[in-house]
């Protein structure tokens, strides 16, 4: 796994999101989801480039269906930016790096 991407589970989600100093982009994904696999390398690149500005984390919906349900994730990939512990922005569907960076503009200094 790339450095800088945290894998969140039912046990760690609240603690990790709660104590994050800045915005965290959480990728809801699964092994069987083609578009999720397509954006995985993009997220790895972003984890490196946005280090210190936006943290990147992943939730496997097979392992943590309760977290997916809590945030009403009904389609993957869904990317939710958590700021100060609460969802601040939601993006549904796979997209390229430039489009993702555009969407994250408000969180990037």
């Amino acid at each position: 796994m790339a450095e800088g991407i945290t894998h969140l589970t039912t046990d760690t989600f609240d603690e990790e999101i709660g104590r994050a100093a800045g915005p965290v982009l959480v990728d809801f994904w699964a092994e069987w989801c083609g578009p999720c696999k397509m954006i995985a390398p993009v997220l790895e690149e972003l984890a490196g480039e946005l280090d210190g500005q936006v943290a990147i984390a992943k939730v496997n919906v097979d392992d943590a269906p309760d977290i997916a349900r809590r945030f009403e994730v009904m389609s993957i990939p869904t990317l939710i930016v958590f700021n100060e512990g609460a969802p601040a922005k939601r993006m549904v569907g796979a997209k390229g790096k430039a489009a993702l960076l555009d969407d994250l503009g408000e969180f990037i200094g």
Partner: protein
């Protein structure tokens, strides 16, 4: 700054584009493949098969093969012979003079990003949506374009699939793994789907059909709660509750890059010469679903990709300076 011209640039990376890449690479054309960018609307790298599960009709795989796995093999094979694949989407093309110009990123940039002596167009097709007012807002909130991505979230719930072709029935059958009931909503009283898919769908106890019905409205503001259907003969409307709705009403060819530059058939597909991949511009070839309004199979797309590479190779030979 001007850029060196590639012998051939392939735009798109489904079965057609990657087969063209394999043949072009083996003919030493050093193809550059602009494979597209991640998306969830079936115009992504690898094409429509990236959103499917089991492919049962691709020859050579007696036990079937997963769509994404098949496309990974196509890609590996193209790379093995030296095709250069770039994960970007073309934003503009200029087919008015040779070498042809292809832009990625800013389409207003004065110089193209790449130039090609020949261009092979294999941009494929993407899923059609119903075009109802709140459609974009509801995608990902109960409305889905990708059964394999989203079926999981509808465990033990009642859902609907809109459409009557093979893709609609494939989705419906796949979704019965999760949903308690799948209603196929179709605007006619018979299906377009192949016989084998119809037999499977009719035999599936979780699948019901709602015939002669057109979806005219999505219910729900922030989350889909159902649809309003209109009876195509009586005009009578009825609201039906569903936790999820999957749209599979067909595809439209991805031709916008070539608007005003290449002639289309009346139905919007790129026009090619009969029994050939040649378009009406010399040195520009088209293959796969962007020009095929009839067969639209992975195997026919691959076959036409092979034709395009051979056509490009022979064209380059004939036009060598």
């Amino acid at each position: 700054m001007s850029v060196d011209a590639h012998k051939t640039i392939i735009i798109g990376s489904g079965p057609a584009g990657l087969t063209a890449a394999i043949y072009a690479a083996r003919a030493n054309l050093e193809p550059l493949v602009l494979e597209g960018e991640p998306s969830s609307t079936s115009d992504q790298p690898g094409g429509q098969l990236m959103l499917t599960t089991d492919v049962e009709n691709y020859p050579g795989f007696p036990d079937g093969v997963m769509g994404p796995e098949l496309m990974q093999m196509f890609r590996d094979q193209a790379q093995r012979f030296g095709a250069e694949l770039v994960t970007v989407r073309a934003s503009r093309v200029d087919l008015s003079s040779r070498p042809f110009g292809v832009w990625v990123g800013d389409p207003e940039a004065s110089e193209p990003t790449y130039r090609g002596e020949t261009i092979i167009i294999s941009t494929g097709a993407q899923s059609l949506m119903l075009g109802l007012p709140n459609e974009n807002e509801l995608v990902g909130h109960g409305l889905s374009t990708c059964a394999t991505c989203d079926g999981f979230f509808f465990r033990d719930l009642e859902i609907a699939v809109v459409g009557g072709g093979d893709s609609a029935l494939e989705e419906a059958i796949f979704l019965t793994k999760f949903a308690s009931k799948v209603t196929v909503i179709h605007r006619r009283d018979e299906l377009r789907a192949s016989k084998i898919m119809q037999d499977r769908a009719f035999a599936n106890p979780k699948i019901e059909f709602r015939w002669n019905s057109r979806v005219v409205e999505y219910c729900g503001d922030t989350k889909l709660s159902g649809v309003v259907v209109e009876d195509t003969s009586t005009g009578e409307r009825e609201e039906l509750s569903f936790a999820g709705v999957f749209v599979a009403i067909g595809h439209k060819p991805n031709t916008w890059l070539f608007d005003g530059q290449l002639p289309l058939k009346d139905n919007g597909y790129l026009l090619t010469e009969p029994d050939s991949s040649r378009t009406l511009i010399d040195g520009v070839f088209a293959c796969g679903d962007v020009q095929d309004d009839y067969y639209r199979q992975a195997i026919t797309a691959a076959g036409s990709g092979c034709q395009a590479a051979i056509d490009a190779e022979r064209w380059l030979e004939a036009n060598e300076d």
